[in-house]
Amino acid sequence: MTFGIINPIYTSKVKKIIQENYRVKTIEIDNNIPKALPGQFLMVWIPGVGERPMSIGNNFPLTISVADVGKVSKEICALKVGNKISYRGPLGKEFVIAPKTKRVLVIGGGYGIVPMYFLSKCATEDGVEAVAVVGGRNEKDIIYEKQLFAVCKEVFLTTDDGSRGKKGTVMEEVKWLVESKKFDCVYCCGPERMMEAVAKICSQHRVACQVSVERYMKCGIGVCGSCDINGKFACIDGPVMSGEQALSLADFGKAHRDASGVLHK
């Protein structure tokens, strides 16, 4: 048993900023310690404003990608190179590549591409072949494209309006890939309905699957209960869960709770 401080706040400097699209910025942090794993998150703190969980997009250098969608993320997006950035973490369960894995399928929808790139990079470094399917509403939503092409054997792009890649959702590509090719594991991060559909297909075809469950999060360390999903906590039992476990949770793909704990379907 440890008392002491298990998850301190780290403060580093913003090393590099990349404008990914009309609202997403990638921030490289001038610190590689502690080591982050794909699927984990940081609780990024802006003094006087707030703290939010942010998905980790890379390690060496530690990287987050932030969409300018709220009070805290707006402040994170306003940071300049050389500014201080503070965070707790990495926190939560990561995507696991099992021993003897040869080939994996990674599926990212929208910002879900961020941890999927990080995972593909780690897989490739371990000698595992990664095939990626990424989707967005239109071409502006597809981020991390160059990075994915650099680490993946193949990359399939889809957009709802056909402005980039194939017109439609990722599901059509996922379906034929899972049905016709052999993958040791399928990893997915994106809108929950998409992850639900992916987990179901994998379950039908008896392919191992891991998804990333997102819920409103406060403490990030398994104490406050805000990120509850049917008695599991997204911050410590997740964000990454097996597809089977996620499908066993009644709210998965169906309902989520707001900051006060009220359930919305």
């Binding site: 706040i9 003094p47 906590f233 359930l263």
Partner: protein, 314 residues
Amino acid sequence: MLECEFFSKKIKNPILLASGILGMTKASLETACDNGCGGVIAKSLTLEPRKGHEGPNIIETECGILNAMGYPNPGIEFGLTEFGGWKRKEALVISIVGKDAKEFGLLAKKVEDSKKELGATAIEAVISCPHTPGYGTMAGQGTPESIIEITNAIKDKSKLPLIIKLSPSIPGEGKAAKAAEDAGADGINMGNSLGPGMKIDLARKKPILGFGVGGLTGPAIKPIIVRGVYDIYKSVNIPIIATGGITNGSDAIEMIMAGASWVSVGSAVYYRGPKVFGDIAKEMETWMKENKYKKHAELVGVAHDVRDHKSDIY
């Protein structure tokens, strides 16, 4: 060997989930039960839903955790539906927080009205939060006068056993507990976070918690709670829950020796994971076997053999 009564209910051990920890949903209360606790105290409910304070809501210190959640909860209406239909063998306590006696009365009435469907064993009234404006110690609810008023307002509306949750930050916990007992309370929960306290980040030169200040929990506050339980045990005849810094079986035994009938566990869920409840129970049993006790009830208040103790100057 740890079986005991919790008001009208027989429970498997005296270890409870403290309010505010995990318990935002019925499923999470069941998670605590599956991990070995004898009962659960649900997230405190206010009249209307509350989002709570802006983050960071929690920050670790060297020997405990500072938190300023600000009572996030779905409100009494949604909350009673959420927690309701409790059929498990572990006890469910509904925790309520009001701005004044009138609000406590309204909340108690809602609990009483849904008593049958709810399945709860008791109500806990929290008058001890150190970091939410309008509530607890920030609203001066820890005085004997205020306690009497709040206790009366709740007892007037509900027949369920009532536990008053006192702050370790008020002077004279013994007197406060006596006021609650005289007004008809059925039990005292000695403990809540202590404070408020503050932690400043050196690199950013600013207080870390979103609310600036927060309540301290964990091992750091345990001695304060032991003393509070000890004082209250001398002052009242109603049973006591000890809350604050209980992390292992020895801590639980110490609280029981001071006079607690039950203990509730919060921060230890972080230090040892949700399975902490069952682990504490096993550690209590090990200690009792080694020391030849058959029931923990034999240990309640044994520390009080010492005469001429002057701690009641507080």
